[in-house]
Structure formats: structure tokens, C-alpha cells
């Protein structure tokens, strides 16, 4: 007899706190690097394409400023310093968590973002949840089930190929102007959130559904799915309990795409539905050349990416225990 307990067997290694902490530590260091890169690149980009920041700062007051006034403003903003000096200054302040002051709004960038963040987070989280739920439902119900598969797939292709603002306008025409069941714009109440959420969620959900379905169909070919069915389990239960978890790894991997879609989509959606939020803030900062505000928003967006990727990494180990022992 061979010793059964020893042939190639290792004892269970649970996802230990140490292993996870180590992973997070590495990711954190990489995240700081990403943030620094994002700040540097946007700093360079803005100065290469720069017009006169001082002019745009005072022009907001409707005056035709004299050269003395402009020089004064430049000195105040540090724009008379050499570029590397401005850059190091900027990084130094960033290290202390100071994103600078908005040229336009005369408040700190952090404060401006903070004021607008709530609305956008509400919209983004609602849209993300709706997108993921729609994708899961579409994929689980239609994977390898003709003809539903082709129908759902066609709808998804159309949605993911349609620009966000077109989707928003169509939704407005149907639900606000024709059926008059939902408000056209505004920030008040959950009813005003429905159309913007759908506008943002549909294209993202459509792409996720496509990925999820193809992944699910691959998993459904696996022998362990057959095994589960030979135990007398219902097909739909097999899909949800056995196949979905494998396919979800793909969705988690795509969360970078989702966050990007949400941020980009928020700009359009908030404009279209005249909602306040970070998207609107971003748009106005770019059009008015509010450099600290744009830089601040870029660093903020990079921060969100880093944070999400960190969470994704933890999510992987929770979904797939094999990753920890490997």
C-alpha cells in the first residue's frame, strides 16, 4: 500500500492574512507609482498645450486685465517660476494631499471634488450595479440556449455600439417626453436617477454580458458541470451555483474597463441630464483651462483606478482559492 495521505498531498492552505497583506503591499507600491505617473503625464500635457492660465483666471471676472494685473496673478500662481520648479512644487503639495486651488472656483480642488463627488458616486454605483445585474441575467439565461442567445447577443451588440448620448436621448424621448413618467433632468430624488443610470449602465452592461456569456459557455463545457447535472441538479441552478463563479472572474478582470466607462460616461450623462457631479466639474475645468482642477481630477481618477484594482485583487483570491496557494 502506498501511504495515501502523503502521495502528493499538501494540507489545506487557507487564504492567510499574511499572504493577502503581502499582495496588497506590492499593489500599494505599484499604485503610488501609477499615481505619480498620472500626475506627471497630465502636468506635461497641460503645459505643452497651455494657453495663458493667468488670462483665463482673470477673464472669468469679465475684465480686460492690464499687464500688471496678469503679472501679479502669475506671481501668485507661481507661473513665473521655471517649469521644473512648478513641477516639483506641484508634486510636493500632492504629497501632502493638497491638490491645489481652482483658478475658477476660488476654492480648493479637493473641496470642489468633495462637493460634487456624492452625486457622481450615487450615479456610478447605481449604474455599475445595474450593468452587472443585467449582464449576469442576460448571460445566465441565454448562454447556450437558442434562439434567445442570438436575440440577446444582437441587442447587446447594438447597445455597446451606440454612443452614450444617443442612448440617453432615446430614453428621454420615450420615458420623459412621450410617456411622461420620468423627469427630464435634475438631481432630486431617486426618480431623477433612473434614466441617467440606465444611460450609463446599458452600454457597459452590454459589453459585460457578451464577455460573461462566452466565458459561461466555455465553463458549461467542463466535466464538473456534467457531474453536477448527473447529481440531479437543475440546469439553471447549475449555471448559477457552479458556472457563474468561474465566469465572474472575467467580470472582475474587466472592472478597470467598467470604471473607465463609468467615469467617461458620467461626463456625457451628467451633461445630458443637467446633473451636478464630477463629470460636469471635469468638463468645465477642461473648457476653462482650470489647470489645478484638471490635474486634481486626473490624479483623483487614477486614485480610483488604483483603489479598484486593489479591491479586484482581493476579490480574485476570494473567488478562486487556488490563487492563494499557487
Amino acid at each position: 500500500m502506498t501511504a495515501l495521505g502523503t502521495t502528493g498531498t499538501r494540507l489545506a492552505v487557507r487564504p492567510t492574512a499574511v499572504a493577502i497583506a503581502k499582495r496588497i503591499g506590492v499593489r500599494l507600491i505599484a499604485g503610488v507609482g501609477v499615481l505619480w505617473g498620472a500626475a506627471t503625464l497630465s502636468f506635461i500635457a497641460l503645459h505643452v498645450t497651455a494657453g495663458d492660465a493667468a488670462l483665463s483666471t482673470v477673464a472669468g471676472q469679465g475684465a480686460n486685465p492690464t499687464k500688471e494685473v496678469l503679472d501679479q496673478v502669475r506671481r501668485d500662481l507661481g507661473l513665473d517660476q521655471p517649469l521644473y520648479h512648478q513641477y516639483l512644487d506641484y508634486l510636493g503639495r500632492l504629497l501632502h494631499g493638497d491638490l491645489g486651488r481652482s483658478y475658477q472656483q476660488r476654492i480648493s480642488v479637493s473641496q470642489a471634488i468633495g462637493e460634487q463627488l456624492g452625486q457622481t458616486v450615487q450615479l456610478a454605483v447605481a449604474a455599475a450595479v445595474v450593468a452587472v445585474l443585467l449582464a449576469i441575467a442576460a448571460a445566465v439565461l441565454t448562454a447556450r440556449r437558442r434562439p434567445w442567445r442570438s436575440i440577446a447577443s444582437g441587442v447587446e451588440l447594438t447597445l455597446s455600439a451606440t454612443p452614450t448620448f444617443v442612448i440617453g436621448i432615446v430614453l428621454l424621448i420615450v420615458f420623459s417626453f412621450t410617456l411622461k413618467v420620468l423627469p427630464v433632468s435634475g438631481n432630486d430624488g431617486p426618480r431623477a436617477l433612473i434614466l441617467p443610470t440606465l444611460t450609463l449602465a446599458l452600454p457597459i452592461g452590454a459589453v459585460l454580458a457578451q464577455v460573461l456569456r462566452s466565458e459561461l459557455e466555455e465553463v458549461l463545457e467542463q466535466p464538473f458541470i456534467l457531474t453536477a447535472r448527473t447529481r440531479g441538479m437543475r440546469d439553471t441552478v447549475v449555471r448559477v451555483r457552479h458556472a457563474l463563479r468561474h465566469a465572474l472572474v472575467q467580470i472582475v478582470t474587466m472592472s478597470g474597463f467598467v470604471v473607465g466607462g463609468l467615469l467617461g460616461g458620467a461626463v456625457i450623462t451628467e451633461t445630458l441630464f443637467v446633473r451636478q457631479g464630477v463629470g460636469q466639474l471635469m468638463l468645465s475645468a477642461v473648457t476653462t483651462k482650470d489647470i489645478p482642477m484638471v490635474l486634481g481630477l486626473v490624479v483623483f481618477a487614477a486614485f480610483v483606478y488604483v483603489l479598484v484594482n486593489l479591491l479586484v485583487d482581493i476579490a480574485y483570491t476570494l473567488i478562486d482559492p487556488r490563487l492563494v496557494t499557487r
Binding site: 502521495t7 502528493g8 489545506a12 466535466p223 456534467l226 457531474t227 447529481r231 440531479g232 482559492p321
Partner: protein, 551 residues
Amino acid sequence: MTSLLEVAGLKVAFNGTTVVDGVSFTLERGECLALVGESGSGKSVTTRTLVGLPGYGARVHTDRLRFDGTDVTGFTDRTWRRVRGARIGFVLQDAMASLDPLRPVGREIAEPLALHTTLNRAARAARVHELLESVGVPEPEVRAAQYPHQLSGGLRQRALIASAIACEPELLLADEPTTALDATVALQVLDLLGSLKGNRSGLLIVSHDLAVVARLADRVAVMKAGRIVELGATDAVLRDPQHPYTKALLAAVPSAHAKGTWLSTVERPAAAAPVSPPAAAQPGRPVLAAVGLRKSFPGPDGVARVAVEDVSLTLRAGETLGIVGESGSGKSTTARLLLGLETPDAGEVHVDGTPWPALTPEQRRAHRRRLQIVYQDPLGSFDPRFTVERVIGEALGAAGHPRGARRERTVELLEMVALDAGHLRRRPLELSGGQRQRVAVARALAAEPEVIVCDEPVSALDVSVQAQILDLLADLQARLGVAYLFISHDLGVVYHASDRVLVMRDGRVLESGDVRTVFTDPQHDYTRELLAAIPRLTPQVAPPATPLGVG
């Protein structure tokens, strides 16, 4: 008394292609029936149809399909679900893929209990431990909480069996239950399956390997191309096979009786194409040697694991040295060290008397050419977009063949492995498993090597195809004087193919010597254990053996 299972005129087709073509058999309570056939014979589809899961897009027609006297042809999925897992258990091949890798095995085993019984969570957990114990899994409480990848192959397969028998089904279907396992472990699993079959329940076991199931089955059904060509008591089928296909299958098994004989009944490879044997092929000269090889790899926890420890060997020109061992024994690492693909931590590899490290990169390349390799899975070792011509052309290029003469030489090489110019334009996916392995051999021959390392060259092949490849290798050795290092987990194959043999376990050589001596008079306990686990065709059959060289 009705039969447990009655099948008559079962036909299954996918997209108009008939896969199962009129299969009929019965299975009684307390009986074990084996369904034997090569890949594509329709045995797996037959089995799956018995639980109403023939597969996606299948069309099923049957004259009669009764389980325990009940006609199941009209069963809806809902009715089937009450039978599956409860009254019919199903064990699939390779538990690594057949158990959900993201769930602890205990939860998998508890699943049929949750579906078919009223046991509460605690009672189910208790039953899971009981089941694991009954299938011979030690420390069931610990194992139940582990994931499939944390268990050894044997324990995984036992866990899978536990999940199939959780509700004490009357019929157990086992589709290739031991194929992914090492011989000694396979033997234990087979014995377990045999012990589970009581007086009340029936066992249907599906396998490509007649020798494996012969041990367990009361009756054998041999399948070919969707039909049962022979069905009878195991003894009778083995002793006196009636159908030519059964005879060919039995003759193809490379166990002791066939050593020094051709295994396959097909045409011999065409008479020798003009081949120049390697100039320096005097028999007896050592072409490849290793002294005191040692290699360790860091494990997942950072602790080094020794893969190869103190391995020494000598391969002489024109002979075959077999290395036999189970998975994890260090066979493949030894091969990689010999080929210079890994650097040993200690010890030396000598090619033609010169150690690898003493060679300049230039000389190493020249030496590499003299050592070629044939892998287990030729599909994985070919670029899927390359045609056969390009696969071999590339090898010829690496061997320094002038571009102009390559095509002619490629056809020559293909003829040596019994393929023709018609195969030049095919891609790997358009070839059968046996043809692919022939191309792999042709590619190895392109460099006119003195040594070919064959790493499990026939393990992925059906037994009749395996026989042809083994014959081909023997034929090429006789004609070209090439030496083989023949690595396999299959003792029957190693015995058939080798002159001398090394038995490895846990990275060490336990025993070595002339293959006949080692196999008839093993000195080490482990070798004896391995030999005892060789599936034997009982009673010993003596198929008409063609002596080597004839034909």
C-alpha cells in the same frame, strides 16, 4: 425479476452524424458490465444517454430503454432529475476536471444529499465524513474542507466516487474512472468500485483499456464506431475473442507476451527508404550519460523540493533505456537535465563523453542536434498554424539542411514514418493522434539524431494506435541505429519497448538493469508493487505473435 437496465436499439446522432448506432445490452443487479472501445467509439455518449444527458444538440432514438422496469424514454428533465444522483450515480474521468475547482470537495459530496434527501446541514456534513471514510479517504474532516487541487489524484477520484454514491444509487456509471491515475492508485480505485457493487446495485464501467476493466467486469461489451461488436462473459471474450476488432485490441496490449514482436496488425512500414545511418553508430558506445544528477525547485511555500536526487545512467548507441515511474517521480526532470534544458544543481551530463558545461555555445548547438525529443502531446508541441511540411522543414533548417533539398528530404522522412506526400499540406488539427505522433517522430529524425528522448510518447493514444507507434519506433531503431530514452508510467509499454530499465520514485533511481531481469525478479518492494498493479488480461491470452523483422 426485471433487469436493472435494459437498452435496445439505442441511436444517438449529433448534427446528422450518428455516434451511437443501435446499441443493445442489459445489466442485472449485482453485475458489473464493462463498455470497452477506443476514442470516438460512442461509449461515453451511450453512458450519458443512460441518465438523459446525451449532450448539446443530440438526437436520441431507442427501441427500448428501461431502468428498473420503468420506461425512461418519455422522461422529462424534471423526472430525470429525481433519478440522477439518487438512483443512478455517475463517476467521470479525471476528478481534477470533474469536481468544481472553486468548491471544497465536502460541499460537492453534500450536493446530491441536499437535492434528494431531507437531511439538514449538520446531518449532511456527518454523512459526507462517513462517505469519505467509506471510500478510503483518511482524515475525512480535514479533506472535506479542502479544494480538489489540494488533494492527490487518488484522493480526488475517491471524493468524486463518494459524491456519486452519496444517495446509495442502484446503478453506478463510471466513465474512465482510472484513466488519469497512476497504476498503483488506479488499482486501488478499481478495487473500491468493485467493493461498492453489492447484490442490489449494478456497475457499468467504461474504459478504453480492456486490461483495466477485465479485472472487475463480469461481462464485457466491445464497442467500435457506435456499435457493440462483441458482448460476452469477460473470461470468454479474453480467452476466445470472436470479432477481429477484439482480437486486434487484445494483440495490441504491450504486456509480457508480446515483447520482441510486432503489436499492430496493420501493414509494416514501407521497405527502407534510402537512409544513411548516423556514421558513429557502433553499438555499445555510450552516447549519453549522467553522473549523480540532482535538481531541486522552489515550492509554493519557498521551500526547495528535490525533483531529482543522485540519478546516474548510461545510454548506449542503438539501445533503448526505459525510465519508469509514477507522476512526480522525476522522470521528466531527468529528461530535461539530459537534454540540457535545465542545469543540474549537482552532477554532470555527458554527451558523447563530453560534459555539457565544458562545451562552447556553438558546440552545444551541434550537440543538441544529436539529441531530439518526442513529447506525449504532439498537438501541444506543434504550432497549430504550421503545415506538416513547415514543421519538418523548420527542423531540417535547424539541422542545417540546404533550403533547396528540404522538400525531398521531408517526403523521405514522412515515408520513414509511414506517411506520404499527401500529408505535407495538412495542419496538426487535420491529423489523427497517431499521425501527429508520426510527424513528431519525423521531426525528431530530421536532425539525424543519435538519441531520441521519448517522453510518454504513446500515453495519449488509443491502444491500437499506441501499438503502431511502438512498432514504428522499433522499426526505426532497427534501421537507423538510433538510441531511445523511453519515459513512461506504463510498465507494459516500457517492458515492451526497452532493453534496460530504470525504476524511479521520488526523484531517485530505486532499481535498474536488464528489463527482463527487473520485471521477472524485482529487487525493490516498490517495483514489485508497480508490477502487481499492471492490469493483466486474465486469463493469459497468447495472441498470434509476429516475430520482429518479419513483414
